[in-house]
């Protein structure tokens, strides 16, 4: 009996992600994917039931990778400063190591597809939640809504990183981030989060 060919499946996944990152969800089809991945449409249907199944599976897979990288060495009991710094570092690592994963992830999360019943979120959320709760209990940060926390703690981080990814900002044609710049931003963010 023939077992799933994981290498072929991985190629199909990678190609699908690249196509969506380059062209968006709208024009994406199984037929076009088959051409781009240089396999027959039938081969794609061996692995995935339809477009929806493929997209959900891609997202769940990418989310798992994201959660694995983001939680590396992360301790929910860490201080707010150490924990948030590690989160920023880990997220940068994910974005730099898996650029097409990140862009696909971002596109998917900002589309209605994220509300599909087959979308699974891992234990990632719980770890983040307990990190924040611990910081509040220790009086390291103000008691604020999770959305407000996210906006302050990660909004600036992603904004600065986006200048880097675009390679420019409104002030300069060449912008790159560094640990030093990120640390400066972190100090301001921590100030804003204080009780």
């Amino acid at each position: 009996m023939r077992v799933r060919d994981e290498h072929k499946e991985a190629t199909i996944r990678q190609k699908a992600m690249e196509m969506i990152v380059a062209e968006g969800f709208h024009g994406f089809s199984m037929q076009r994917l088959a051409k781009a991945a240089n396999v027959s449409p039938a081969t794609i249907y061996i692995y995935f039931k339809n477009k929806e199944d493929l997209l959900n599976s891609l997202y769940n897979d990418v989310h798992q990778t994201f959660a694995r990288v983001a939680l590396e060495n992360f301790d929910p009991n860490a201080s707010l400063e150490d924990g948030l710094w590690l989160q920023w570092k880990n997220r940068m690592k994910f974005i730099f190591e898996y650029p097409s994963h990140y862009r696909f992830y971002d596109q998917f999360r900002n589309s209605p597809l994220i509300h599909h019943k087959d979308i699974k979120e891992s234990g990632f959320k719980e770890a983040m939640k307990s990190f924040v709760m611990n910081a509040i209990i220790r009086d390291e940060m103000a008691r604020i809504e999770p959305e407000t926390f996210w906006s302050i703690a990660y909004g600036p981080f992603y904004s600065l990183l986006n200048f880097h990814l675009m390679g420019k900002s409104m002030m300069s044609d060449q912008y790159t981030v560094s640990d030093e710049k990120m640390k400066r931003l972190l100090r301001l963010v921590l100030k804003a989060l204080r009780p």
Partner: protein
């Protein structure tokens, strides 16, 4: 664990919901079909069947006799 040779893939013209309902009635009577779906969004209305016993030719005969187009997708 799904083995890839337990999966049959066809090009069909099963497009509308009533057509799919018709197919459901057909396949419900075949216990060795574990799982199936039609991708109605696809230009080839791809029918995907997971089965261990049924042969591709049997499916083609069955659908053709019911008045649908059905051929193995390359």
């Amino acid at each position: 664990m799904e083995y890839t040779d337990d999966i049959l893939i066809f090009k069909t013209n099963v497009k509308s919901a009533p057509d799919q309902l018709r197919l459901k009635e057909l396949f419900d009577s075949i216990p060795s079909i574990n799982n199936w779906n039609v991708d109605a969004d696809d230009i080839d209305c791809v029918l995907r069947i997971v089965t261990r016993q049924v042969q591709a030719d049997d499916i083609i005969k069955l659908l053709t006799a019911t008045g649908y187009q059905c051929q193995e997708l390359e």
